[in-house]
Amino acid sequence: MKILFSHITRKKRGGIATRNEYAEADTITIGRSTSCELSLLDPRVHLEHAKVVKKLDTYEVIAAEYTLIEVNGELVDKITLKTGDTFLVGPYKIIFESPSSDADLKLSIELTKNLRNQVSDLISRSNIDSSNFGISKRTWSWSLFSIITALFLMIPLLVINSSKENLSSLDPEDLNKSSTSLVSVWSTGEISSPHNFFAHDCEVCHEKPFVPVQNNSCAKCHDDIQHHADTKLFPSASLSDLSCQSCHKEHQGKITVVKNNQDFCASCHDAIQDEPNSLLRNVSDFGKNHPQFNPTVIIDKDKNTNRSLSIGGDPKPIEFSGLLFNHAVHLRETGVRHPNDGIIDLECKDCHVSDSGGVSMLPISFKEHCNSCHKLYFDSSLPERELYHGDTKELFIQVENVYNSIAFQGGYIGKDAPNVIRRRAGQTLSQTERVEAAEWAKRKKEQVLDGRFGKDRCAECHLIKNNEERWTIQSVNITDSWFPKANFTHESHEDMECISCHEANRSEQATDVIQPSIEICQSCHGGENARSKIPSTCVTCHGFHFEHMSPIYPINEVKVKETTILSSLSEKNLALFNKRENNEIP
């Protein structure tokens, strides 16, 4: 059988080219193999795909094992076809054409689907664009932008708005905690603990948006704040153009809003002497540049005026308390004799007891601290009877009353007393006896009060004034606060020996001011930046806003107490002050 294979190549919408091939065979094998009669070089065709056997007028197409052919869209493994019919082997369309003159069988073969293998195919299934990651930077950017804006701008603003609306009807306590925490993302830091209780309510301080916190907001609570200095005397030191905020920084952590940088004080005080009206001395650092302590002492025992004098300066500060006291004797190492208990050791704390806050010492009281040793007996025949302590007038009356009542009652046991006095108590007296008894009482009274006894006994501790009529006791003025402008707590120093600061064991005079000098403090305390000592800043000892200073903002009018100012003047400054008072300085 002679077969004509007519290979058709259809150009793209163009012409049709045909290539003819002849073969002789009885059975036509079709496949990829070159040994096939019809060899179709395409990977989609099996090595041996099908064979065609002629059967009279028809042709039987039989697919090889595991392969199929396609006829009218159906896959079959065997089919009988006739002239004009078409079947598909892989991508090839094969048509049984009517036989021509030179062949018994003519098959037109046409490739219907080209193999896909072009650079463009490779590119189209690949992704070789280095900047294509499936999402545009723009989308991704706007998403992030929106998320941030929504979370941190829109939501807080909404919360602020709604809380404003509800504020009138709601107690701040009821404010929704979770909603305020949404606003807290705007907070620049933790609120100090004193203010923490209203931390959830921004509007307490930030009253108006875009307006800095006003002093009024602070004054809602802190209404009695004082000036630091008299702005009339020190206009240049006026701090009135500063707001509370300029010193008191909020949102900087739990601890405190009070600032203690020494530079802050030093910025004025390191050249405070040069201020026109200044009576103060320069200070910049406790460890390096701080004046000697000037305890405020009473300088005039009559007028009770006091002034501060520098420790170790000249004149030395002397205290006119009106008392006589020898600390050294009381603190003798060998002890002191107690009238009842024999030899005892006295300690500072036996007399000096700090107050409950530990800031200052409680006043010494005769009854509590002196009386157990220093009994005020005045008549050996009257054991257990002590002189009244406190007021001499009362004392005189007491003594007079004591003897008068003895005179009328009798029972006195003194040997030198007349019998009438020594009589058994309860006996009524005759007129003469009464006179005698009254005279005795009078004599006795005068004996106690005018004689050496009274004077001597009181003068052991008190300064005695000899008036024309009768001696009196100098009034006692014990300094309340040695350093009125500084704070000191004994409590935090309680582990220390008293005498390590106060040299009481060497003080034999009551006039001694046994306050420590600055060097003693400096042995442990340095300035703010001290490294080997305890760093101490100005506010460790000194305060800023004090009641005895004028108000920093005229919230409450507080009168300037002249005496207070006076009390804080040093000698040199006192002179200056006086001059000014006398209009010697303009």
Binding site: R32, S33, T34, L41, D42, P43, R44, L47, L115, N117, Q118, V119, D121, L122, I123, R125, S126, N127, I128, D129, S130, S131, F133, G134, I135, K137, W140, S141, W142, S143, L144, F145, S146, I148, T149, F152, L153, S184, V185, W186, S187, T188, G189, E190, C202, H206, P209, F210, V211, P212, V213, S246, C247, K249, Q252, G253, K259, N261, D263, F264
Partner: protein, 273 residues
């Protein structure tokens, strides 16, 4: 002439940046504000304003880069300044914060900004590293040339395999028609495709018992090996070119985020002044 943007004009912008940074540090050490240093002191406001201006300026780079005919001067100069001033921001903004961090928008801004800066540093590193590696890897070929070579080899593979058994032909057809470059995001960045049909085909062909013509098999193997090599080259090229781009997908969006945060930061700080 050809100098990298880091050494542009003898480190002009490095010097500028160092001067600025040192000045800021000195001022920071010098100034002793009431309370701890923070954004609210005079220095804080100064540093904050400076940092904000720098941030807006840095973000403007995206526009400057594309305004080709309107702006004078050299983009390299801008890029150089962009890199160095961006780095300066690390110091300036940290000083501005006074080392105070917390759970708030201000710290969020700081971290967004740091993400932008760190991605920028990575970008600069990529920019310095990859160009010469790309050239080396390409070995004189362009992407298109490599693709063409691959299709040429494919053609050869197809022709060679034609006389082989159906299974092998299927394998080769897969290698030809289903080999993909840059299949996924990850594969693109890794530069390696573990399921590359070409590699699979080669593995199968080598390991499988082969009944056909051994000479053809050897030829096929060598073609496949060659194709794999070009694919590797191409994937490596794509990987490096992608890396040159990918960092921008962090850098740019986070710049937007940081700008949003910056605006909110400024707004909130002055809202609750």
């Amino acid at each position: 002439m050809h100098e990298s943007l880091l050494i542009y004009k003898k480190f002009k912008y490095l010097k500028l940046t160092l001067t600025t940074v040192i000045l800021c540090i000195v001022l920071y050490l010098y100034h002793s504000p009431i309370g701890s240093p923070n954004g609210g002191t005079w220095l804080g406001y100064t540093l904050g304003t400076l940092a904000a201006l720098i941030m807006f300026w840095l973000a403007w780079f995206g526009a400057r880069k594309r305004s080709y005919n309107k702006s004078k001067g050299n983009l390299e100069e801008w890029a150089s300044a962009h890199v160095y001033l961006g780095l300066a921001l690390v110091v300036i903004s940290t000083l501005h914060s006074g080392f105070q961090f917390g759970l708030n928008i201000h710290t969020i801004l700081y971290f967004l900004m740091m993400i932008v800066i760190i991605s920028g540093i990575i970008g600069v590193y990529f920019y310095l590293k990859f160009p010469s590696l790309i050239t080396k890897n390409r070995n004189g070929l362009t992407t298109e040339m490599m693709l063409t070579q691959i299709t040429e080899i494919d053609e050869d593979i197809r022709e060679l395999s034609m006389s082989l058994d159906d299974f092998t032909v299927d394998l080769m057809t897969k290698a030809i028609e289903e080999t993909v470059i840059g299949k996924s995001f990850i594969i693109k960045l890794k530069g390696v495709d573990p399921d590359c049909h070409t590699s699979l085909a080669r593995k199968h062909l080598r390991e499988k018992k082969f009944s056909g013509n051994n000479k053809i098999r050897e030829q096929l193997l060598s073609k496949l090996t060659r194709k794999e090599k070009i694919l590797d080259q191409l994937r490596n090229d794509l990987k490096m070119r992608s890396l040159l781009q990918i960092w921008l997908y962090i850098h740019v969006p986070f710049t937007f985020a940081a700008l949003a945060a910056l605006i909110i930061h400024i707004f909130s700080v002055f809202y609750y002044w």
